[in-house]
């Protein structure tokens, strides 16, 4: 899928705002044709990193190249190499579909000889071939989203940045959107996705989790679910739930306890051992256990586990 040709290379990238270290020695590589997910809570340093990679913000120190271009030395040149699309698609709702495409074609300096073919391509990709004179604001969200994607890649950028591209979109449009993204990646486009929605993260080939300006984990979604979590996950169905939660929070060996609908999710160091001890621990306290079983962690479980572990182990040097 990838040919070992890194298209985004980041080495020891740092960005300070006064005393505040927004990005703290980040290093990563994204390969050509890779869908690379950049995850982290609000304020973790995702946007600051992306802004530096887009040539919009000058790094304090470190080094980053995008399509071989140094983002600090030649920020204008970088911008010609990238496409950018955010959840708030920057389309003009009162313009027609075709007018939006022409506008973005002009903005990205697509040559007038190439533009008609690119617009045809974008309309076809978005499924809007017969609706080019529709007012953009009247389109359903899924179509708008694909139009925004078409606008973002009119100039054939080798690198595409997506910022929570499918949040709130219906699942069918979302699947169609990711299908398009996977196709572009297959053609060699490197896709850089920032999100804190785990269902978007599942579509990425590789994920990097950033917290307080630092990378705390990386790997494919499957690898992260198998390896990154400290401890194992148990599902406990029991009655009454509220008192069970309270007592389990301070039970020996329970690292985390949370309600999930009618059940509890517990993080424990070793599942098979904990099943025995918890069964008796709960019945001794008058709680009836209906079911207790090992479950696989979701990406969200991994995310929460990693960020809380780091929050406890490392002092926050960032102002609140």
């Amino acid at each position: 899928m990838t040919n070992g040709d890194p298209s985004v290379v980041v080495r020891d990238l740092v960005k300070r705002f006064g005393d505040f270290v927004a990005v703290d020695h980040i290093s990563l590589e994204a390969q050509r044709g890779e869908i690379f997910g950049f995850l982290g809570p609000n304020g973790a340093g995702k946007s600051t990193t992306i802004r530096m990679l887009c040539g919009l913000l000058h790094p304090t120190s470190g080094h980053a190249t995008v399509a071989g271009i140094d983002v600090a030395r030649e920020p204008e040149k970088v911008r010609q190499q990238i496409g950018y699309m955010s959840q708030k698609f920057s389309l003009y709702n009162d313009l027609r579909v075709i007018e939006n495409l022409r506008f973005f074609g002009g903005m990205y300096k697509v040559s007038s000889s190439a533009l008609p073919e690119r617009i045809r391509w974008a309309l076809d990709m978005a499924g809007l071939t017969d609706r080019e004179s529709a007012i953009t604001g009247t389109l359903a969200t899924g179509w708008k989203q694909r139009l925004a994607l078409g606008c973002a890649v009119l100039h054939r950028p080798p690198i595409l940045f997506l910022d929570e591209p499918t949040s709130g979109v219906d699942p069918i449009s979302r699947r169609q959107f990711w299908e398009l993204i996977h196709r572009m990646a297959g053609e060699g486009v490197t896709v850089f996705v920032t999100t804190h929605y785990m269902d978007e993260a599942e579509y990425c080939n590789r994920l990097v989790l950033i917290y307080r300006g630092q990378i705390v984990a990386s790997g494919s979604p499957t690898e992260l679910k198998q390896r990154a979590m400290k401890g194992e996950l148990l599902l406990v169905e029991c009655e009454p739930l509220g008192p069970a939660l309270e007592t389990l929070k301070s039970a020996p060996g329970v690292m985390d306890a949370a309600v999930f609908g009618d059940a509890l999710h517990l993080v424990v160091p070793e599942a098979s051992e904990a099943v025995h001890t918890l069964n008796s621990y709960l019945s001794e306290r008058g709680i009836r256990v209906k079911k207790i079983e090992t479950i696989r962690p979701s990406l969200e479980d991994v995310f929460v586990s990693l960020t809380t572990t780091h929050a406890q182990s490392a002092p926050d040097r960032r102002p609140q």
Binding site: G168, D170, P171, H196, V304
Partner: protein, 315 residues
């Protein structure tokens, strides 16, 4: 469904806006002590439904009882029993966290002693205890949402209506937010919350899955998943595209989606298809690590319902 003591009872609620049927004969009940989710994408009718139940928007037809009061006939009558948190909750950025709480306490006529007790408990649960003196405008998105919830809950409502309260909130804050909701259930409140994130449906006791104003399904998350015709199979592979090409024409597959670590398929019969698919992959030399059945998600059900016509479509 027909719980006699329902805290919320929506019957055939319908609302039309110019050119769109926003909510189409929607009926459901929510019991005291229950968290009920209105789940669906943007435009499914979630906000319109919540506004009608909060008494701030009149339906075209249908009726609704909230805390035993006909909310359409006497919207003012149920106000004291309802806490409604719209998507943009009115926090004052230039007031501190505690000043915002005091303000809402005054609006609801809460006595200072009670207000202080409740604020202390809610702020601690929200992880905001040490931020009482911070200006609301200086809080992060997730903290603002939690403060909005604290303010909305400073009185003791019977029914809580929340419109996409976790939108834009990161997973850690989301968990804290849900922990607060669960902790309120002991008071016997009924909570109706909306979300566009289908994975959040798993946290509710029951959910109504909405699409284009209509109810697709209404049940517990576990029961919902049993409605999925067929089974979901995951194939972990470093080259998902090759796996897809190899399997595209295989029998019994109703959907095939590329994900980051491989491919997800919906098949008619897992026990029969897994060996077939495995043989096909091995025969073609496509590289894969694991092929196995996985638990379907609410999203799988939603897609199957809308695409496969399990539920009716709108014109």
């Amino acid at each position: 469904m027909t719980e006699p003591n329902a805290a919320i009872r929506a019957s055939e609620l319908t609302k039309r806006f110019p050119g769109v049927l926003a909510v189409d004969r929607l009926s459901f009940d929510v019991s005291p002590g229950e968290i009920f989710g209105l789940v669906g994408p943007d435009g499914a009718g979630k906000t319109t439904t919540l506004r009608m139940l909060a008494g701030v928007l009149a339906p075209d037809s249908g009726s609704a009882l909230v805390a035993g009061i006909d909310i359409i006939r006497s919207p003012e009558g149920a106000r004291h029993a309802i806490s409604y948190m719209p998507q943009r909750f009115g926090l004052y950025d230039d007031l501190t966290v505690y000043e915002n709480i005091r303000f809402y306490g005054d609006i609801f006529g809460i006595r200072p002693v009670q207000r202080e007790q409740r604020a202390q408990r809610l702020l601690a649960a929200a992880g905001l205890g040490e931020f009482r003196a911070r200006l609301a405008g200086k809080l992060s998105g997730g903290m603002k949402q939690k403060l909005g919830l604290v303010c909305a809950l400073i009185h003791t409502p019977k029914v809580i209506l929340l419109d996409e309260p976790t939108n834009g909130v990161d997973p850690v804050s989301r968990r804290e937010f849900w922990a607060i909701l669960y902790s309120l259930l002991a008071e016997g409140v009924a909570i109706l919350t909306s979300t566009a994130y289908l994975d959040e449906a798993e946290r509710c006791h029951r959910v109504a899955l909405l699409h284009q104003g209509r109810l697709l399904f209404c049940d517990t998350p576990a029961a919902l998943k049993q409605n999925l015709p067929g089974a979901v199979i995951s194939i972990v592979s470093a080259d998902p595209r090759q796996v897809r090409e190899t399997l595209e024409k295989a029998e019994g597959i109703s959907s095939l989606v590329l994900v980051g670590s491989g491919v997800h398929l919906v098949v008619d019969d897992a026990a029969r298809r897994i060996p077939e698919l495995r043989a096909r992959l091995e025969g073609s030399g496509a590289s894969f690590e694991v092929i196995e059945q996985i638990t379907p998600t609410i999203e799988d059900l939603f897609v199957a319902a809308v695409q496969g016509g399990i539920a009716g479509k709108q014109p």
